[in-house]
Amino acid sequence: MKSISRRALITRGITTGLAATAGVSGLAVAARMAKRYGLIPPDSCGPYGPGETLTYAAQRLLTAHSMAREFPRSMISKSPFANEVAPPTDAFRRLQAGGFANWRLTVDGLVAHPTAFSLADIHALGRSSQITEVACEEGWSYIAEWIGTPLSAVLREAGLLPQARYLVYFSIDHYWWDSLDMADAHHPQTLLTWGMNDGDLPVPFGGPLRMRVPRQLGYKNIKYLVHLTATDSIKRFGKGLGSASPEGGYAWYAGI
């Protein structure tokens, strides 16, 4: 039988102990760094939290300044698919009857000047267009030209405060809501979209106002926007998971 000397046993014990301590403190440091640099998504808890956190952290490091692919005009889809939407609410129908002249986008929360913007106010803040692909989590996709005002211009106008960490946005029925981190909120391709393929944004595609986040999947692109609010704590909204999507079982971060 092989005997192990007492000294070897003690050495081995100390080595194992040191390795375990290094491992645990390494993880603790990694967790603190991740929190500091905003690498933890709101839905980081639960059985799928580890995978989701890895995905989000990796994409935040990899895609800090990357731009979604843009396509030539010839690749614009001749038959885009609008997907189904819930029947419009009475409030929506009234605004539609008035040509959306009374449509308002309320911007509040951590901003210096809470404002209710009309569509004309938003148009006046700048125009940007992009030919990008909408990709649905189901698997289908189409390319369109999206015309709108960069979200960053609206946030600048409202005086976004530096302590804001998330921008929460709501559809008119308030059933659909979502949020962006500041990296995506300030991204030059993130558009408050009001035009599509050289015309007004059609109602089935989210008109009169839709969030467009081309580096994420379709479900992040909420239709019929009426309300933006800047916050430093996403936990205060809904179940605290960042959007309606995780409450329905879907990931908050949709860049995959």
Binding site: E52, Q59, A68, P80, E137, I143, Y250, I256
Partner: protein, 251 residues
């Protein structure tokens, strides 16, 4: 001989039995199996939300598909011809799909780096010099068709067909399925546009991802069939404990 002596002899034989699979190979094999099973099930769930496939950059229900899987869909916006909508399981399926993909990628990294460093690929997977010709392949295929028992050397190692199949799965199919999967991430594509452009577009990447999963399922079916034919219990024991008992080896 007393039973105590017999037992000690048996134990000695067990310990001296050759290690068929190293600890690293066993652990990474089962981690790969678990993550592949999860990826396959959740991938199937995701496919039924749009069981249509396209070629090129874009594709949707208003466009002509390359082919359609004739099953009901979990979304009522897909015209399948069935008057039935399957339950939608995409939420947890997507979460689990990507989490399992991370497990697979980490496992592959550990296996790949270790395999390069410790000579596992060179020793066990690259076909032996004398087998680098079609005759060696045909000889093996003929042997399988005759259902002739393997030689002693072969039962301790892999033959040229096995080596080629494993190399194809490890160095071609798995890297390609990871690449085509990554190409479906709009954020990853913004950082590395070539990932999707080289494949011919988003829908091509999705269709290739599907075909690659079918190829891996075919491999799995043949792999399990061959394990069953060559002795399911002993092969499973070898992949779990690392050893085959000498009693079961062919003379």
């Amino acid at each position: 001989m007393s039973t105590a002596v017999q037992a000690r002899k048996a134990a000695a034989v067990r310990h001296s039995a050759p290690v068929r699979h190293s600890g690293l190979v066993r652990i990474t094999h089962w981690l790969t199996f678990l993550s592949f099973a999860a990826l396959l099930i959740t991938g199937g769930e995701i496919v039924i939300s749009h069981p249509r496939f396209y070629w090129g950059e874009t594709g949707n229900v208003n466009m002509r598909p390359l082919f359609v899987i004739p099953i009901p869909s979990s979304r009522d916006t897909v015209p399948t011809g069935y008057h039935y909508v399957m339950p939608d399981q995409n939420g947890w399926s997507r979460y689990l799909h990507f989490q399992s993909a991370w497990v697979l990628v980490f496992t592959a990294l550990v296996y790949g780096i270790a395999g390069l460093l410790n000579g596992h690929f060179r020793r066990n997977l690259i076909p032996e010099r004398g087998d680098w010709n079609w005759r060696a392949y045909w000889a093996r295929i003929a042997q399988y068709l005759r259902r002739a028992p393997p030689s002693r050397a072969e039962s301790a190692s892999y033959n040229v067909l096995q080596r080629s199949a494993y190399l194809l799965v490890i160095f071609v199919l798995f890297p390609l399925i990871i690449w085509t999967g990554l190409a479906l991430s709009p954020a990853f594509d913004s950082a590395v546009p070539a990932a999707v452009n080289l494949l011919g577009g988003r829908q091509s990447a999705r269709t290739l991802h599907f075909f690659l999963s079918i190829a891996l399922v075919l491999f799995l079916a043949v792999h399990v069939a061959m394990v069953a034919l060559s002795g399911f219990r002993s092969r499973m024991r070898a992949m779990i404990t690392g050893r085959t008992s000498t009693m079961e080896e062919r003379p």
